[in-house]
């Protein structure tokens, strides 16, 4: 594992190693000294071309808990607004000695392109509508903590699948880990290629709900929509929103997940979001542990760079 670009690149063993490592590292967040010296002297750049609060802060907290130096770079107010290309920005960061780059970009595939240009480790923190592998890892981690396993779980992912990198990464990772995923959405909010995804598809939330161990609600990403995909917010919410009535029809042990940010009253009602079955805040906490694990596994040991075969620098 040299980079983390796609949840689909992870083998089952690699994914489990990340989850097990995250579990050990979660202890650090409970101690009085919330810090490990492991990444001392390593520099991690958070390269964010899209607005993000929780992911950037989560990566920043994770890197700092491992004692890495963190440089935050947001496209707004930087040389990017003067027209600098991704490649030139990347080469600048490399010249400054970045060992790892965490990239969030609106273009699918941006992280993989970046990995070709820089020598250091690249971690995909969301590339457009394509992938968000650390989100899928923290979701799998949360399922494991709440339900004790991922293998054999029936997971429903509900909502705007078409524009969701979270859905794609989760389908890939959860399938690798042996869960059965069902996507639930109106036909207009499913990606065109969904028949090639390793999962089931349903248009009927009420039919899928009682059979699910995990219900993951997704936000309708209005900012990525250039035409109208459903008649009205009210109708969408009626058919695909999770409210108290629907929650009552779920299995007793089943949990409700949401990657955030939530739009209360749209895909999830406030009552459900605040219920004990909802794991929203746990997902945020777990995100830090999972990202610490990813940073440790990619940057903690010898870094393979072309031309120096993993020698210490």
């Amino acid at each position: 594992m040299q980079h983390l670009l796609s949840a689909g690149d992870l083998t089952r063993d690699e994914a489990l190693l990340i989850l097990d490592t995250a579990r050990e590292l979660s202890q650090v967040s409970e101690r009085s000294v919330k810090k490990l010296p492991t990444l001392r002297g390593r520099t991690v750049v958070n390269l964010f071309y899209e607005d993000s609060t929780r992911t950037r802060i989560s990566f920043e907290a994770a890197a700092k808990r491992m004692s890495a130096d963190v440089i935050n770079f947001s496209a707004r107010g930087s040389s990017v607004s003067k027209g600098e290309s991704l490649k030139d920005t990347a080469l600048t960061l490399q010249a400054m000695g970045a060992d790892g780059v965490v990239i969030r970009h609106s273009a699918p595939g941006a992280a993989r392109r970046l990995a070709d240009w820089v020598d250091g480790v690249v971690i995909n923190a969301g590339d457009g509508t394509h992938e968000h592998p650390t989100q899928a890892l923290l979701d799998a981690y949360t399922m494991r903590e709440r339900l004790g396993r991922v293998e054999g779980l029936r997971v429903a992912i509900v909502g705007d699948i078409r524009h969701s990198r979270v859905a794609r990464s989760n389908v890939l990772l959860l399938t690798t880990l042996g869960a059965e995923v069902t996507l639930v959405a109106p036909p207009t909010l499913l990606p065109v290629s969904v028949d090639t995804w390793p999962c089931a598809v349903s248009y009927d939330l009420d039919e899928v709900l009682p059979k699910s161990d995990v219900v993951m609600m997704l936000r309708v990403q209005a900012e990525r929509m250039h035409s109208s995909f459903f008649p009205s917010a009210r109708e969408y919410s009626r058919r695909y929103g999770l409210d108290a009535d629907r929650l009552a029809r779920m299995a007793d042990h089943a949990i409700v997940m949401h990657p955030g940010p939530m739009v209360r009253g749209m895909e999830i009602s406030a009552e459900v979001a605040d219920s004990a079955r909802s794991t929203v805040t746990e997902q945020v906490t777990n995100g830090v542990s999972v990202r610490m694990a990813v940073l440790y596994l990619l940057l903690g040991g010898a870094i393979h760079r072309p031309g120096n075969q993993g020698e210490p620098r």
Binding site: D20, V33, P37, T38, R313
Partner: protein, 207 residues
């Protein structure tokens, strides 16, 4: 994992046992008594085994002390992976778990337990790890085998056996709980990753 490979006898003919089960058992019993003597009854004692080889030894010492004093002694496990000084010489390692007994380490006399004392680098890492967990009143070190060749100013308070070795030799400790049999073996050194003098060896493996 490594230990199992070694224990499985990659080159059994080249290794000879210098300690067998009964001698290891007697050495641990003596160390248990020494700990009680030095800590004046061990009322605030906590034993922490360094992963992986030190953990069963810490448990066995705790059992022996309990037998003598008729009261339980808190013991746990310390994983020092994140504090190693040779992390960057190899790909990232899997972590072991750190289990601190509910009494914690603040204000207690912590005895670190390991199987082999060699360069002292593992113990240095353990002291750093302990420092992040709290502030013990005192820290002592118990090892089953001291093979010499220290690279840091570190010594053990309790030693099962001093074993003069050359750097061309490796010392392997086998423990019932991990490898199905108790023994200390000396064999020819295997090439280790990183600097040849680097002492932090595979936990539970040959050192």
């Amino acid at each position: 994992m490594h230990a199992h490979n070694h224990a499985g006898g990659e080159r059994p003919d080249q290794r000879r046992a210098v300690l067998e089960g009964p001698e290891i058992s007697r050495a641990l019993t003596r160390i248990a008594h020494e700990i009680l003597e030095r800590t004046k009854g061990g009322h605030d004692l906590t034993l922490l085994g360094i992963r992986t080889g030190g953990v069963p030894l810490a448990q066995r010492l705790a059992e022996r002390i309990e037998r003598v004093e008729q009261r339980p002694v808190p013991w746990g496990a310390l994983d020092i992976t994140m504090y190693r000084d040779d992390l960057r010489l190899a790909p990232a390692r899997a972590l072991g778990s750190t289990d601190i007994p509910p009494e914690g380490v603040d204000g207690r006399t912590v005895v670190l337990v390991d199987d082999v004392l060699f360069s002292g680098r593992t113990v240095r890492a353990a002291l750093d790890a302990l420092n992040d967990l709290g502030r013990p009143r005192a820290v002592q070190l118990a090892v089953l085998v001291d093979r010499g060749h220290r690279e840091l100013p570190i010594r053990a308070d309790y030693v099962g056996k001093n074993l003069p070795t050359s750097l061309r030799e490796s010392v392997t400790v086998l423990l019932e709980e991990l490898h199905g049999r108790d023994a200390v073996l000396i064999g020819p050194a295997k090439p280790r990753p990183g600097a040849p003098e680097s002492a932090a060896a595979t936990p539970g493996g040959a050192r």
